[in-house]
Symmetry: C2
DNA sequence: CAACATCCCTGACATTTGTCACGGTCGCCT
DNA sequence: AGGCGACCGTGACAAATGTCAGGGATGTTG
């Protein structure tokens, strides 16, 4: 072990969880939490200011999600490795996080003792990925939805009518219905709502 | 201060969060985490075995949610106060938690430093409630949905067709449509999916 | 260039959905 | 008993939804 601790940045929107994770990591003598933020758009600034070795970022956050924060961080502070933590083990999340430059991906179901070890491995340049989730990602494959289909389905999440969607996405109603139909077919569902649910579970939105 | 620490039981389905909360509370000299469980139906058994003073239970859990666990706990181990912790500040959650016998209700957005203090207050017999959420609960009021309407709406969450719902709830299709129509009216929405969303946001399901 | 694939868009069609008016049963309360 | 409210069911109608065949624009590949 070296004598300089690993500097960690913490990004999670739930203050209680954030503080608890800080307490957990502070128990390890070789780890030091140097910054905590609660929004995706505060990550880069905090990283610039404090120069952490590893950033622990949640996916679900206001102000730009953790994936966007990961990409921005990899671009702005290349020396900082990113370990993504998330509540939901969505296959698409893992894929997109890795493509955005993350070094590791951990779900919040993993035992607490393993977190510090994951941080150390990431800092050492290794990749940390939940094995079962990796398998799921392989079978699930990339999102089959086209750009517009994704837009429309994302707009359909709050359950509005076709007219509402058309207004939001600036398309004709008929076109919206077509995209929805395509999405329903590709997700193997029978309803718009079901298509939304499936796409969300796979992290395609 | 007395010399015997407050004994705390921790119930949260996410192992990482559970462990982190344990680490956070263990920093306080007057608190001692005596049990950790990850399912709602393990709470009572663990409480019987370890006899905690305060139980910290999450609402979202497999094996019966935190509300049910709270009710069971108040019945089986009356000496143990319950502090409910949740990700979502749904007004209905607060109301039902209180009616089930909880002594406190905290959302995961609250600063980490306040958690230990909340545990102490609950242990002292005081009530701890997020003020803004309490206000929301008052204006939102009790769920206007009847029992069957709730059933149907709950079954409609995964986006199936009316025929699917009818099969699940053992009702005729026309009746299902009627209940859905009533729920749509009561929630002030224009779509079944929207009604589901609103009812879920208010904790009515 | 021609063939091809992909995406976006439109309009017409059958099905599903949401609404309404109505009758009937059951349990509860005055 | 009578009134009341919640629940279940029916039938019918208008509106929204999902499906289909096809046209146009674009980029890619042989």
């Amino acid at each position: 072990m070296t004598d300089t601790p690993i500097r960690v940045l913490l990004a999670d929107d739930q203050a209680l969880v954030r503080g608890a994770l800080a307490a957990l990591l502070s128990l390890e003598p070789d780890l030091e939490v140097v910054a905590e933020v609660g929004r995706g758009d505060e990550v880069v600034e905090a990283a610039r200011r404090t120069g952490p070795d590893v950033a622990l970022v949640d996916v679900e956050m206001p102000g730009g999600d953790g994936i966007a924060a990961t990409a921005a961080l990899a671009d702005a502070v290349p020396g900082c490795r990113v370990l993504v933590v998330t509540t939901f083990g969505r296959p698409g999340y893992l894929r997109r996080a890795m493509e955005a430059g993350a070094s590791g991906f951990v779900v919040k179901d993993t035992p607490a003792r393993q977190l510090a070890e994951a941080v150390r491995r990431v800092h050492a340049g290794l990749r940390v990925v939940d094995p079962s989730l990796a398998a799921e990602t392989l079978v699930a494959g990339r999102s089959p939805l086209t750009a517009r289909e994704t837009d429309v389905l994302r707009a359909a999440r709050d359950g509005g009518t076709v007219a509402d969607l058309a207004a939001v996405v600036h398309l004709s109603e008929g076109t919206v219905r077509n995209h929805l139909s395509a999405a329903i077919g590709k997700t193997g569902s029978r309803t718009r709502a079901e298509a939304v649910r499936i796409a969300e579970q796979n992290g395609w939105l």
